[in-house]
Symmetry: C2
Subunit: 177 residues, 2 copies
Amino acid sequence: MEISYFVAMSLDGFIAEEDGGIDWLSMVAMGDEDYGYNAFYAGVELIILGRLTYEQALTFPEWPYSGKRTIVMSRGGRVKPSPDIEISRESPEQLAVRLAGEGVKKAWMVGGGKLAGAFRQAGLLNDFVISIIPALLGAGIPLSPGGGRLEPLTLLDVERFRSGLVQLHYKLPAAGG
Amino acid sequence: MEISYFVAMSLDGFIAEEDGGIDWLSMVAMGDEDYGYNAFYAGVELIILGRLTYEQALTFPEWPYSGKRTIVMSRGGRVKPSPDIEISRESPEQLAVRLAGEGVKKAWMVGGGKLAGAFRQAGLLNDFVISIIPALLGAGIPLSPGGGRLEPLTLLDVERFRSGLVQLHYKLPAAGG
């Protein structure tokens, strides 16, 4: 199973300002340019969210993952039920094993950063689409939330956009490969 | 005057491990490939170092900036004298004004990170050559040492190398431009 991390970050590795703000991303907004998002989203069968990211999504005018199977992971926290989601109390490993058994081929780890970090440390994030915004942010919420280990990646693709955004696509090398 | 920052970082924005270690950079070592270093170095008239980076360079088997004018900046610390260097007690702004007056066209801010951050916050770093190593490091010394402000950059160039290293070249947009 492929679990993808599709995220934009500043050149200095921050995915949001310290308060979670992402207004600075608007600097690459250009008409119809979606930086591959719609194609990526269409290829994803399932969304994985942490509890806080889910609660943030609930504040949006409409549910952003409509029609897409969505799993909210929380080991112990109270998760507001909704017909749009399934709640999982599993570990990342348990969830990955179960979903692979159900035949899921491609999931999107939306975040937040802590959940993504737990998946990464378990070696379960294996596809990375990182859009580098042409800006230094100086401080903020880092792509890697600390800890972890050295994880060599294989570069698949580099795409340069007119706005100055550069999208890098990596995969985790196959275990033992 | 152009002051360049030429540095390698992990995809998650770290230029070294927490103890300063850079052994992981060897993953992109490939025969004669120098990732543009020699051409860059040849174009630089002058090297700017912080005190700790200078002390580290003194431990190398040979002085790494031989024949190149080198300035070690330290506001108050004791700097070991050497015929290879000039010592500056100036602020980044004072140094930049003085060097521009002397006709210097291109300098390399080698670092460390704190000195580079001070130059960046003063708007004096205006050329960025960032080599992205195909790896997540998880933790370490960040490219941006915290603080600072949003700094939009202009992408000049993207170069992809066989090792999976991607080199991104940005400049600071001209003030008011």
